[in-house]
Symmetry: C2
Subunit: 133 residues, 2 copies
DNA sequence: CTATATGCAAATAGTTTGCACGGAT
DNA sequence: ATCCGTGCAAACTATTTGCATATAG
């Protein structure tokens, strides 16, 4: 993923801080601001938490990243890529992305709902294999 | 809905504050703590916001109410009743409950996902009739 | 009566803001 | 020289905690 190019396309400068925020989110999967800041701080110790807040908001506005809201978690961030749903283990809290066929889920819901729904957030809760013991 | 009885069953005292919190949530549909406090404050002006915080947490733990997390909203509360999904108008932000057949949605997802999913949070985004103008 | 719940105030945590400075063009 | 982004500190908002008092059962 070429974040440099992506940022420029959206009219944003590709600063080291921004690139590092994006790569941290990409690597972290579903990560909250505290962990983002911790990780970045090891590489750019001078970074301010305010810069992280400002950029997260900006990147969400531009559609480059997405907020993920799941019960009992703080706000998490993920890079905005293809449609998927989230599975959360009730015990260990691990979050897994499940890629699903977007068309099939939309046709299912649009039968169910009758309103013309543009997009969905879906989170499923389960007990993962590891935790079944 | 007999909140009095429900509270006692869970080992909680049915104080006026608690009953009012529950009725405020029931009437409010999807309501955040600020609005809950405002409404209650008109009826029991002596109530403390700390009491509201403590009770919301307690009632969530006991499964009497549920937190609702939707993009760009503060944490909302609803009384924990039958399975439904949330539709959110992207413009006016109105939230509507859609009662759906729980079995049909579970069988759909369990085909899709293969893990044994216990429950789902589903939120759909659309433009409501009013806002289409 | 006594275990729980409330209300208050203080503490803590989370987030936003304004502004001076710095780096890229 | 100008624009945009950063870092800092202060402000603001949200949430939690401890404790003395009040009250439901």
């Amino acid at each position: 993923m070429n974040f440099n190019k992506l940022l420029n396309e959206k009219g944003l400068k590709a600063t080291p801080q921004r690139l590092l925020i994006l790569n941290t989110i990409k690597d972290g999967g579903h990560i909250d601001i505290e962990k983002i800041y911790e990780k970045i701080n090891k590489i750019i110790p001078s970074i301010s938490i305010a810069t992280v807040y400002k950029n997260l908001k900006l990147l969400v506005d531009k559609g480059i990243i997405k907020e993920v809201h799941i019960n009992s978690f703080k706000t998490l961030y993920e890079v905005n890529t293809s449609f998927h749903i989230h599975l959360v283990c009730k015990k260990c809290k691990k979050i897994t992305d499940i890629e699903v066929n977007e068309k099939s889920i939309f046709s299912f819901f649009n039968k169910l709902v009758k309103e013309d729904v543009k997009n969905f957030d879906v989170t499923g809760y389960y007990i993962c294999e590891n935790c079944k013991n």
